[in-house]
């Protein structure tokens, strides 16, 4: 048999190198400075500086590991029914009209990203029924840098932004946001953030949400909520979910991507949920979701969802868990207050009320590029380039250093 020689050229010659998107984290890991602080992480870290285990979660995982009745079978494509049921109830409230009227279905997904990706593909294939609709979709300015990529990958090329974070006031400018939504094309998708915005941590008041929802109804805009940390912002599950429930009460159809990473500490297990609230045609849309899931991951991983379902369906566990969530929210609020107090005592013309206004993990400081660079390079305090940071990584050991460094960054002529 004639053996042919393999070409010396690589089939992948044309592939361009993509720089790592977690460079900041890598730089932090390499940094040998004893006072270094990582305020750019996603996860909630405890007082000791590490991600925490919820004791309840550990206990349930051990139960699962030794339960002889649990089988390793393929789960349904759309996930564990008990999980999706509880996740739906958690978001909408047990007596939500949408649930009572059977106008909602849920899909267990691979984390919040998986939920957004699935939602994006589902919308693109279903939206406005006929041929593929390609947008536009409106994202907040700023937002997580991977969001635009997720929608584009799903075929929604037309990505636009509504004004959200206002650097002047270190908060949300609702006027601008509402105006941009009013000027948006009818029937476009709008990504909204319940339970705190990433990366700014910004929140809207209930009055603000009412205004936003009104425009959504008037312009027939479609809400796609991201609720990544229900309970961690206000300490109350219901309060954090209020914007979603309010839109449902107005009769809006919507999607909601939920994450159980933060409020269960189950980051690695990738427990997400895509909630779909419709007016009609539920089974057909559900079947399309199933079809898409089969091309993404076939069916979702069980471990994390089993833990969540176990907790949410047991009244005693539920109370236990709600306490843990509240404790996390309260610690974040306490850190914010302490930070504000330290900064106030250090003096200067600046106001710090915006730090304590929102709850949850993230906070935006209105620092400019040079000031952020100063903090990273000179003080070994790592925060996001736009001046946003994760407050949970601030603790009693590094609070003074962080406050003084921020003060220094603002005071120096940079």
């Amino acid at each position: 048999m004639h053996q042919h020689e393999m070409s010396a050229r690589s089939v992948f010659d044309g592939v361009v190198f993509m720089p790592s998107q977690i460079k900041l984290l890598e730089d932090f890991k390499r940094d040998m400075h004893p006072d270094k602080v990582n305020l750019a992480g996603r996860e909630y870290v405890g007082e000791h500086g590490h991600t925490t285990w919820l004791p309840l979660v550990r206990k349930i995982k051990q139960q699962i590991a030794t339960d002889p009745t649990l089988t390793p079978e393929y789960p349904p494509n759309l996930g564990i029914p008990e999980f999706t049921r509880r996740a739906t109830e958690l978001a909408l409230g047990k007596d939500s009209p949408a649930i009572v009227e059977s106008r909602v279905f849920g899909v267990q997904t691979v984390g919040c990203t998986g939920a957004v990706h699935l939602g994006a593909e589902l919308l693109r294939s279903c939206y406005c029924s006929s041929s593929s609709w390609s947008g536009p979709i409106l994202l907040s300015s700023p937002c997580d840098d991977s969001l635009a990529g997720i929608f584009k990958a799903a075929g929604i090329e037309d990505v636009q932004y509504y004004r959200f974070w206002d650097a002047e006031s270190n908060g949300v400018c609702v006027e601008n946001m509402v105006r941009d939504l009013e000027n948006a094309p009818e029937q476009c998708l709008v990504v909204l953030f319940a339970s705190g915005h990433r990366p700014t941590g910004a929140e809207l008041s209930q009055e603000d949400w009412k205004r936003v929802a009104e425009v959504m109804v008037k312009r027939q805009l479609f809400p796609f909520f991201l609720m990544s940390a229900q309970g961690l912002c206000s300490g109350s599950l219901e309060q954090d979910a209020w914007p979603v429930r309010h839109c449902v009460s107005l009769g809006l159809e919507l999607l909601c991507a939920q994450s159980f990473s933060y409020n269960f500490g189950l980051y690695g297990e990738r427990v997400g949920h895509l909630l779909c609230v419709l007016k009609q045609n539920l089974l057909a849309v559900q079947s399309q979701a199933e079809k898409i899931v089969q091309t993404l991951w076939s069916c979702p991983p069980m471990e994390g969802a089993r833990v969540v379902a176990t907790v949410l369906s047991n009244p005693a566990h539920l109370v236990d868990w709600q306490e843990s969530v509240k404790a996390i929210a309260e610690r974040c609020m306490l850190i914010r207050e302490r930070l504000r107090e330290r900064l106030r005592l250090l003096g200067g013309p600046w106001h710090w009320d915006h730090i304590i206004k929102p709850g949850g993990l993230y906070c935006c400081f209105g620092l400019n590029t040079q000031q952020v660079e100063f903090l990273v390079q000179k003080k070994h305090i790592y925060l996001l380039p736009n001046g946003c940071l994760n407050v949970s990584a601030i603790n009693s050991r590094n609070l003074d250093y962080v406050a003084e460094s921020i003060h220094q960054a603002l005071s120096s002529k940079l």
């Binding site: 690589s10 190198f17 007016k279 991983p301 471990e303």
Partner: protein, 410 residues
């Protein structure tokens, strides 16, 4: 007015519908020969003893955290999985030109591979690059590549219904006539659904044409160890291609050989010409993963990594895999014997010649319908049966029913 108002109902996936019908069937003699999962002789799913052991180790290990895994997955999982596919002493691994991406099962591995190829394989837009899948093949292959944007998915001749074996001539012919640089999805072993694999010599012929025409080999390896009971034997084809200098992808699933169907443990092994090419490929795959599921799940990967990297556990796992493979071989032998003993018309050698979980019985759709409706024996319309659905308790009933179907239904 709903924006979802006009959405059509998607057709149900045949194998899931079959299982649903099976579940609803009240007949006490019902047998499920449809879905592709291992069953014990008691007809139960099997948690591998080594898996039970490691699960408990993980749950009791208080030093483990719940943090996000790296985007490309658990490093020790990725490297040990690639070693399983390519061999501990693979020259490609030694040359640092092998990498991997931890994915959500075999499906996830195919997905990431497909998305990458569409963007980067032959120029930056491969929507028109032909993808060839075997006729027949796992029904989800089409959907995964189609959803990744490939518009031209073609069958390559594979199963010869007449002689109940591989249509090598047709296969080689389709390789020859394929446009250069086309992508071919190859089953590494235990072809799904036919259970018919090329021999080593046939693989050599296939590789030869693929090399000459610069065709890309995308292996789907869902049954390593499960087919013959021997990991190395089942990996022969992939390793041969690597030794011939091919750059290739291998989508590995640990659902079947670890019985971890529900934790979605997969690995996309990438073999490139050199380390530089490999790094560029992985960097782009990371970007694709980031917008698909961001980070893969930790549980299953940890379990597999610990098992593969701990000698006693690795030995125990290989033993567990052999247990499953041996039971399948036993059922194959017994089914063939019983059909021969009954004098069922036709030849039944293919039942023991075929390998892995599935057998393409050669029953036609009318005969299949008879089995499902009259005998409450559930199998795919194609005549595919899952040998794991057979047990010492039901094998007589199944053999007799097949005999009836063949003799009374044409």
């Amino acid at each position: 007015m709903s924006i979802f108002g006009e959405v059509p109902q998607a057709a149900p996936v045949a194998v899931f519908k079959l299982t649903a019908d099976f579940r609803e069937d009240q007949n006490p003699r019902k047998v499920n020969l449809g879905v592709g999962a291992y069953r014990t002789d008691e007809g139960q799913p099997w948690v591998l003893p080594v898996v039970r052991k490691v699960e408990k180790m993980i749950a009791d290990d208080h030093s483990l955290n719940h943090e996000y895994l790296p985007i490309l997955g658990l490093p020790e999982f990725r490297s040990s999985s690639s070693k399983i596919a390519l061999g501990e002493d693979s020259p490609a691994i030694k040359d640092n030109r092998v990498g991997a991406v931890q994915c959500l099962g075999g499906t996830g591995a195919l997905k990431i591979g497909a998305e990458f190829l569409r963007r980067w394989y032959n120029g930056t837009d491969n929507t028109k690059t032909p993808i060839y899948v075997s006729a027949p093949t796992w029904e989800n292959h089409n959907a995964v590549f189609s959803n990744a944007g490939f518009e031209d998915i073609r069958p390559y001749k594979y199963w010869d219904a007449g002689k109940r074996g591989l249509d090598l001539e047709g296969f080689l012919g389709d390789l020859e006539s394929a446009p250069d640089h086309s992508i071919f999805v190859l089953h590494a072993c235990a072809h799904n659904p036919t259970g018919t694999d090329p021999t080593q010599d046939q693989w050599k012929q296939i590789a030869d044409v693929m090399k000459r025409k610069s065709l890309f080999a995308f292996f789907d390896s869902a049954y390593q160890g499960f087919a013959s009971g021997n990991l190395d034997k089942d990996a022969w084809a992939v390793r041969y291609f690597v030794s011939q200098g091919f750059e290739l992808f291998c989508a590995q699933s640990f659902s079947k050989n670890f019985g971890l169907y529900n934790e979605r443990v997969g690995n996309l092994t990438v073999v490139a010409k050199d380390q530089d090419n490999l790094n560029r490929v992985l960097s782009q795959m990371e970007k694709i993963v980031r917008i698909t599921w961001s980070n893969p799940p930790s549980q299953g990967a940890r379990l597999v990594a610990i098992t593969l990297n701990t000698p006693e556990l690795f030995a125990e796992w290989k033993d567990n895999v052999k247990t499953m493979a041996d039971r399948v071989l036993l059922m194959r032998a017994q089914l063939k014997e019983k059909l021969k003993a009954l004098g069922t018309p036709g030849t039944w050698e293919h039942i023991t010649e075929q390998i892995g979980m599935f057998s393409f019985t050669g029953l036609n759709s009318k005969q299949v319908e008879y089995l499902v409706k009259e005998k409450h024996i559930y199998l795919m319309a194609s005549g595919r049966i899952n040998m794991c659905g057979l047990t010492t308790k039901n094998i007589d009933y199944v053999a007799e029913s097949i005999h009836e179907a063949v003799t009374t239904v044409q």
